[in-house]
Amino acid sequence: MGKLFTRDTQAIFWNNNKTAIQRMLDYDYTIKREKPSVAAIVAPTSGNKFEKFFWGGNEIMIPLYKSTTEAKAAQPQADVLLNFASFRTAYDVTMEALNIGGFKTIMITAEGIPERLARGMNAYARELNVTVIGPATVGAIVPGAFKIANIGGTIENIINSKLHREGSCGLVTRSGGLFNELSNIIAINADGIAEGVAIGGDRFVGSVFIDNLLRMEKNPDVKYMILLGEVGGTEEYKVIEAVKSGKITKPIIAWCIGTIAKYYDSGVQFGHAGASANGEMETAEYKNKAMAEAGIHVPATFNDLPATIMEVYDDLKSKGIIGEIKEPEINTIPKVRRPKNFICTISDDRGEEATYAGFPISSVATPDTGKGIGDVISLLWFKKQYPKWATDFIETVIKTVADHGPAVSGAHNAKVTARAGKSVVESLVTGLLTIGPRFGGAIDGAAKYFKYADDSNMTPAEFLGYMKKQGVPIPGIGHRIKSLKNPDLRVTGLMKYAAEHFPSHSLLDYAKTVEALTTSKKENLILNVDGTIGILMVDMWRALGYSEEEINEFIESGTLNSFFIVGRSIGFIGHVLDEKRLAMPMYRHPMDDILYDVQKAEKL
């Protein structure tokens, strides 16, 4: 209760600010957090899906998203937004996050957001009970739990200033640089801080001194508070009121900087935009005096602040209000760290036994495991355990596409190469190299176009018209000899399997309506085996709960063709071994099978 952050708090970091994020992760590692404090990064213009960061000496990946909406949907547990957008966009980013909801705290770093926008944003956040830290701030920290971006500086300084573990002071400042300084002073003269916030230097900031002090009053880890104010504004008077009315009972030490301002006219702007006195009440001197009169501990000068802190701390300690702190064990960040060149997220050979997506090979290999090749594919290709109906389907596909006789271009190539005396792998590869848009590629194409048509709610007639406009024959439609009357039994089998075992098959249903139209034009314009496989793969993924975007990515990255490649390799190898077994001689194509039409080259 009353704590700003815990050891489980996670943030969405808006803007891929690598240095600041690395600082957070170094902090996490040092204090032995289990999970990184940054769950996601929003990088609207990046094409990447993740960014690598060090986690101690190792590396981890933090996912990148294009928008806050996407990031929040993927990482709903992250309830802090670290808004590192520029002053031009910081308002929009904050408002968007407030409208998405689910954020408890939003920190805004930009300086100089238009005042009217800042006020509107702060008021809206207050209405929604969201704590805004900033704008124009370096952030906040709950030592030993969660640290925002650059606050506290380097890891060495953090440890020197005891910001790696909980102390007993609640610290609130305007200035970010002095926040660090105060943390250091508190570490030297007392036992460090329990929670600290730099509220920001702009004139209109979200959470003000009193908001933070009232929260700290309720936080049992905070035993006393330090407030570092500035010339300008009247926020300190709210604190005085709270002390006088008994809302705040814990001791407060306070100082307002800018006592020099009284010597100069308003033309000299000291420090932050918020630091400008309108009238005597807003001067640092007047505020210091008023706070002292209210019973707040106010030193004679800033230079005497350390002594005041030590005095209050010693007093609380002697009364037993503050106990001894046990220094926690910490991890040490290695001095030299090297980024890894390769990343592997599917298998791992570092342990006793190599694993497929976390499963030891022995647990999926032998028949008694009940696992087949479909399971291995689901682990290594998709990093998921697919249900049996899906792994069976994958195996069915692989078996179905294993071979289609010696005459198709890939098999022919493999045979010719084998007869040239080349090895199995060389011959296989020449066969595989023919796989593409014309050979085997209909699986990809069918999935892509039928899905597009279905997603866009095209009627079959509209779809045909669209494909005609594109100048592309519909992939997956048409067979050399098969027709409705003379069906392709492979297709019949696949469809029967889907009907019996797929939880749903909406794309196949759509494809059948298209087939009804094409076959009405010409008998053999049936849904062929490539088309059926591509379409059913989409149905499989849909039924497994993948989003349309994820399925589109599978299609884009050539996953569908991969099933064809694996399956057909079985056939190609068969043809190559066949040639070897038959010891067939070098193949030369008969000349009478070639149309020679060679003209003498013209001189230019």
Binding site: E115, G153, G177, L178, E230
Partner: protein, 445 residues
């Protein structure tokens, strides 16, 4: 600073530009020109015939008020309302010829306090508008605390300023106030003394005014007085400040706006201007104010908060008589930017010796940086030392350094070595020393 004063002429121009949006039921002639010389006014009259046809009023437009009491409003030659174009041009030339004394406070009609002395450079020229005192009204709006406050009065001019508490209606609105709420509250609170026949129009005008104030990102907007003759409006005198942080989204709305230096403010030195120029070009922050260039304590402090603390502490220990400058660099300036900043300071500091023959003191201070690389910024300072070492020794400068943050050990070591090599007097401290304690050390010696 976010809130910046603009000229009366610009304030009127902004309202005129958006007049039909905010005041569709009213007319405003927008007959106003801004000139710096008499000849310019005569030239302007070629395009704006009203300058020749109407009798004129001329006032300086330089961000100060009480122009009438300072005798700086031209509205009569022999009798009120007889100022011709030629007379106006001649008056402008006469007033710009030599420096003028302007008082900012008056007790009745008697000036109090010291006047500011400066040259008049900008004048606003408008038609003389004959009207009845009862047609004058007052309106203004600004931010107070977290709220916008609209001030309305049935009396304009001096009277409202002198009888503020009795004569002004104050209406406070939160930032989230809806248009309906504003309309209702204004309609219900029209000052009782507004003439009955003007009441409806007054409300309409006030609603439009407040809307313009909010939507056009004014930080302060005052018309004192405006004249309402049915639906015809004259803006006799205006004061305005803009929230300049909104500038990037108000490019179209504000047009080409200038933030002039107030009358009587010392002209910025070329050094300060150079720093401002450098500041505008970088994402980091470079600030410099010269307080008393002949004084002996100079500060080169990193960070907005820390720089204030150092200034406070110097004032506490030595008083402000010895403090030459205020400034700060922060936000991770490059080595080159820091070098330029340091050179500018060292150049100013080494121009004269201390009249009493004492050593000068240079405080290179700063808190523990969050992300600024101390070694990198100190490299810039060291490069400036190398340029100015001879002059520094000549004048006699004791340097005190205190800093923490990323790479501070290297930064402190480098600056100490460089100063020793160059034969400069230096003491160097890190985060174990209290941030402002070097001020005490420097001044106790």
């Amino acid at each position: 600073m976010a809130q910046k004063a603009i000229r009366e002429y610009d304030a009127k121009s902004i309202l005129a530009k958006h007049w039909n949006k905010y005041f569709p039921d009213f007319s405003y002639a927008y007959e106003t020109v801004l000139v710096t010389l008499g000849a310019e006014l005569l030239e302007a009259a070629k395009a704006k015939p009203w300058l020749k046809e109407k009798s004129l009023v001329v006032k300086p437009d330089m961000l100060f008020g009480k122009r009438g009491k300072n005798n700086l409003v031209l509205f009569k030659d022999q009798k009120p309302g007889d100022v011709t174009l030629e007379k106006a041009a001649a008056w402008i030339d006469e007033k710009t010829k030599e420096e003028q004394s302007v008082y900012f406070s008056f007790d009745g009609d008697t000036p109090t306090g010291e006047p500011k002395i400066d040259r008049l450079t900008h004048f606003i020229v408008e038609p003389f508008t004959p009207h009845d005192q009862s047609e004058e009204y007052y309106i203004s709006a600004t931010v107070v605390g977290d709220e916008d406050v609209l001030y309305l009065s049935a009396e304009g001019g001096m009277e409202v300023e002198e009888g503020w508490d009795e004569k002004v209606t104050e209406l406070a609105f939160s930032i989230t106030a809806t248009e309906e709420e504003i309309v209702q509250k204004v309609k219900e609170n029209i000052p009782a003394d507004v003439k009955p026949e003007d009441k409806e129009n007054f409300a309409k005008f006030a609603i439009g005014f407040f809307k313009a104030y909010r939507e056009l990102n004014f930080a302060y907007l005052e018309i004192n007085p405006f004249v309402m003759q049915g639906t015809k409006i004259e803006l006799l005198d205006m004061v305005a400040k803009l929230d300049d942080t909104a500038g990037f989204m108000m490019v179209e709305e504000w047009g080409d706006i200038e933030y002039p230096t107030a009358f009587g403010m010392e002209a910025k030195s070329p050094e300060v201007e150079a720093i401002e120029e450098a500041d505008a070009k970088t994402g980091a922050s470079l600030k410099l104010t010269l307080l008393k260039p002949e004084a002996r304590i100079w500060t080169m402090v990193a960070g907005g908060g820390a720089s204030v603390v150092y200034a406070d502490t110097i004032a506490d220990f030595a008083g402000i008589e010895d403090l030459a400058n205020y400034g700060e660099y922060s936000g991770g300036p490059t080595t080159g930017e820091t070098k330029f900043y340091a050179e500018t300071l060292l150049d100013l500091m080494t121009r004269e010796k201390d009249p009493q023959g004492r050593d000068k003191i240079l405080i290179i201070g700063g808190a523990i940086a969050n992300f600024t690389d101390v070694a990198k910024t100190f490299t810039g300072i060291i490069q400036a030392f190398e340029e100015y070492a001879d002059k520094m020794k000549d004048v006699g400068i004791k340097i005190y350094v205190r800093r923490g943050g990323p790479n501070y050990e290297k930064g402190l070591k480098d600056i100490k070595e460089a100063a020793d090599r160059l034969g400069l007097s230096i003491e160097v401290y890190g985060p174990e020393t209290h941030v402002t304690d070097i001020v005490r050390m420097a001044l106790e010696k």
